[in-house]
Amino acid sequence: MVRRLLLDARAAMASPNRNARSAVVLGRLLGLAFVICFGTGLYSHFLQDPLPGMRFPTRPTQLYQFTQGLHITAGIAIIPLLVAKLNTVMPALAQVPPVRGVLHLLERVSIAVFVSAALVQVATGLVNTYQWYPWPFPFRQVHYALAYVLIGSLVLHIATKLPIITRYWRKRDSYDEHGRFVADPSVGSELLPPGLEERTAPAPPAAAGPVVASYPRGITGRVLRWVDGAPAAATDPLPETRHERPIAASEPREPSPDASLGGAEATRGRRERVARRGFFAGVAAATVGVVVLTAGQSNRLAEPFNVFGARQRHRGPNDLPVNRTARAAGVLATATAADWTLTVVGHDVSRTFARAELVALGTTEVDLPISCVEGWSQMASWRGVRMRDLLAAVQAPPGSHVRVTSLERHGGYRIMDMGPEYAEDPTTLVALELNGEKLDLDHGFPARIIAPGRPGVLQTKWIEKIEVIR
């Protein structure tokens, strides 16, 4: 009963796109995208949670803008690729028998883990860029832990499928001279179309005709016959594959004696090829489409096509989008207080500066991007006091680590630590102006941090204290 159901399902899923070669092609792209996301994600993670002794590059100053933009863009490109890959390997869902042994069971469990981790990771990652968290678990910790599960599953998946991957790595090994998929039962692919298991290249002459099994009996068979417009003869094995269309006008006429045989092969091959190319054209269109229509939130070139991006560059106070407003941070009163001062604490010396006193120290102008972990980014022009000048004012020794505290009452980024590579960088500022205007309250008035190559959450706003911690 179950077996019958699975066989019917396999028959309904049979398609020229659902073969091992398509799975390898999509798997390569998807694997590459996963690795890109994993690498850029780890970089972003360690920027925010460094292991002891970690140092990071401050040049190019747009490095994080690039890596995180790539993280989000590759993550969005994963959506169509993942859907396509799952669609391609769908017949493996209906394997007969469902479990062949302990190892096979473990493999299927590992694929279930892989698929579910990938779906949850990509879906929650996408919705996170919309700043919406409709799930019962913390996003950041789960996204980080699932990344390891996902990439480990990818490695394990490559291990289990390695014979199939190498067998179908190259196109010329995957299709015969007519463009038909060469089903090789020896490598253990679960994507061999029903009835095609014995087919090898070149096509054996005797069996060249009826290479596809007859339609299954019962309702499935009737549905499939209706789909293909095939005659209702119950026992007749059909000589043609599915995706059949009466296109007599386009069939080549060959004069050779076995014209019907070779011609049928060539026609079938051409149709399979068209179906496959159509499938990949659709996947390519979808991938390019979602990327181009969203990448404008982080990429200047794609800005005119920013139809669905979660942000629009240059929209916001000071010509720049805002992530956390002063109201949300609870600093409306403290940040606008007339007696605001910035306290700078060295090992032996402590000083406090009013805003006018900071200006009097001498200001510098730098161009640095704001690059959010959620993917949007924008270059901006900042004017403020160099961090290293402030540190010199309290006689901080070279190589000092710094801790910056914000006026925010709560939130995970109220306190921010900064290694010496940033603290001593000439472009790291306590910024007072943004894009030629006084810093907007939502951008961190009266003063905020801006440093090269760091995520936006570490560009602390509404600062009140800078301490030399070691």
């Binding site: 919309y130 700043q131 394990l156 291990a159 979808a286 139809v307 669905f308 929209r315």
Partner: protein
Amino acid sequence: MRATRIVLAVLGVLVIAFGAYVMVTTVRPNRIWGLATWLVGAVILHDAILSPFVVAVGLLLRRTGRALRAWALVVVQAVVVLGTVLALVVLPEIAAKAHGQKNPTVLPFDYGVRLLVVEGVLVLVAIVVLLLGARRFGARRRRAPYTTG
């Protein structure tokens, strides 16, 4: 090959185990249950709902495709795939905006209208392609029924 596979498999299992370790040490147990429901839900959604749906749509497309030129079918298929993927990305965005913006610079656009416009353009493209395809196919068949296409 065998050695490579064993090394990869062991490495993969170790990395998965590390992920599980990070999970249980950084996420509270009751939250892990929440995550577990989502992980199981994702498999059920894919295996029991999305896959049968895709099979049904594929069969319908196959049935419809019999009356079409191959390239017209390809265009229609590309439009269906692109339209579906865009909806997958933008529908949650619409829901997120309906749920409330944190500030006016987050989700600044009217995504519902934009999705409708883009999907409308896609449908229009598909219709034009189908009409052109049907006309040229018909003309060619009348003119020269036995030449190669």
